[in-house]
Amino acid sequence: MVEIELKNITKTYGKTPVLKDISFVIKDEEYFIILGPTGAGKTTLLKIMAGLEHPDSGKVLFDGKDVTAKSPGERNLGFMFENYALFPHMNLVENVAYSSRVHARNKEMTNALVNQVLMMTLLTGRDNAFPEELSGGMKQRVALCRALMNLEQTKLLILDEPLKALDAGLRMNLRQELLLMAKSKELDLTVIHVTNEEQEAMMVADRIAVMNQGEIIQIGSPHEIYYHPKELFVANFLSEINYFEGICIKNETPLWDIHQKSEQKDKFYAEIHEHSSPLLLDIGFNNQFAAYVKNDFNDQIHHGDKILLVVRANHMKIRLGNRLSRKSNSFIGKILRRKFMGVFYRFEVIIRVKSKEKKIIITIPATTEIHNRFLEDSEVTVYFPKELGIVFKYPGEQIIQDILKLE
């Protein structure tokens, strides 16, 4: 059993704060992902947990015991960092089996384990190759194998971008393998895995901590952070999004009120979910109103507040023709570009209302109908169900630009 707790961790390199007061708990047997862009502080945080770096202040607890001052060796964990640190004078199998020497495992067991991890990482048959003969992706897999060899002794695996140098297809396969291994009953592993790829995070994590600029922005299950992102940064990091600036016209509008408003303006009608109360928004297109479920974080949005509405590209829907929907939020536009991407088609649709113009991105599953009929220049109606809108208090122009430009 390994439960890890970080308490008020800070770290500064020179004058640059890298980690700003970070506290959270990783539960026993959890697959925990730390997700964020380059420079967010992910690797530093990981090194502090592994004992390869020491925090300026704060504590690291393993199962309630303070290990802040302990060396990596005393923490009993398996880790794999980006620079693979393979032994150049040992061949592939010797590199992988090295930990068996340290742990004085018997030969049979070592062989069985080595075979198992090599098979899993598709390295079988390369036993005698030396590191210099291997591609970057192969070296990475050898390093991963070595970390995996430790697992009967340690119940904690720490992985820094373990799949980074691999081709996309191989990466997909290995993600699934990693998860299966981590969740296997015999191993009872706690895994901490750092990545900058949101797909990877979503695919393996029990919980994800989203980091940016030395801070944890949000921790939650893939489902939580996807549907209830706490900030624009999180919403944007997880998929392509559309955003609209607007004003909250009403909060917690009763059902009849919306009916009335929409009838009156003959523009918009909102169905309301049983358990949620909607926000009514004016986002400046055709005086349309839009209503959205409240999420946990927008309690503080009031009548008259400036807001930012976010709709993920894959939550937008599209149909041919120019009939505004009465059941969901809709816009009329024209397909500017379309691109087949495999599983999905991606559309850029221009909506124009008087002098106002906006580009909306839509990704939808590729079907024969989409392929044959949704062509560039087609007139279309774009819409989205109100429960898939995400509303933030307006964070300010500069912040929006910084986040969306990702610089």
Binding site: M202, N314, M341, G342
Partner: protein, 381 residues
Amino acid sequence: MPEIELINVTKTFNEGKVLAVDNISLKIEDGDYVFLLGPTGCGKTTTLRMIAGLEMPTKGKVLINGKNVEAIPPEDRDMGFIFQHFEIFNHLTVWENVTFGLEMRGFEDDYIIQQAEKALKTVGILEYADEYPSVFANPGLQKLAIARAIATGANTLIMDEPLGSLDPKVSKVFRHELRNLVKDLGLTAVHVTHNQEQAMAIADKIIIMRNGKILQMGTPYALYENPNSIFVANFLGETNFLQGFVLRLLDHDLMEIWIRLGGPKIICKNPGLKFNLDNNIVIAFRYEDVYLFPMDYDFKNSLYDWSEMEFFTVTLESSRFIGETKRFYLRLENGDKFTSVKPGTFEENFFSGNQILVGVHQNDIHVFKAPSDLLYELSLS
């Protein structure tokens, strides 16, 4: 306007000991955004360098607009170059980085100013003209590299992993901007990558290479819908493969396949009657083409036509929500595993351990002759 053609081109290194490109022919039409795609060492970069004039073919011809360009050096081929590490001059300002190449070629000052302004504006960094490149993070450097490439007035962009230095998130946003820019300027682009997702997202045409040869070329749609080999099917998208043999030949160019070890029997097309009784085959179908139904689904009252759908029963091992999609990991009775992908908003009521009815449309099943080494065909390198 450029049209690039390679005819029977071979390239060897080390006095013929290393065969990098093995007798390939291809044509790139004017205005196309073309990808050379393949695993490390497949010959894609060497091919690109021969198009650019940075390498000379050992055998064969490179034609631009029908003319053999053997004698034309890279700088006179009307091409702009963008590489993974951008090759920006850090001691020059943003402006000087762009004008440098134009000055080297001896253009008039007025023309240089006009071109540099236009290029920097196109990529959206004109306001940084007097700054040094150090103000930029990777996406900014990337834009500068593009500005420099298009400022020369080149009609073709030659790119080797141009998005390779960007964070995955940034690259996913930027790839669309890159495509739009190339299309808006009416350029021809040749782009090398090993990243199939990127190629699918940007390309007009993709040329898939392996071991120095071209395996298949065509639009992303054509390659995705009709891969000509197990490797291409596997490389370009997430695909399930099941092994079996031909049990019966049926009318209308159909056949019945029996999946190995007592797996399900599946009817699929036998185009051109390519397969015979008892042939060992591999069938391939995309993750997203696997439909899921509860065991008691009422097909009779369904609005859809399920007549060409093949059904079989599987066990749901686990499922996973990953945002845009949901993934379902499934197991056949014979132990073979495969996967279904549905949109993230797909509503279902399946639990691990449940029996589920799976449907795959006959049109979505591709059949290949069983290779001698399936693992090799499925390896992505």
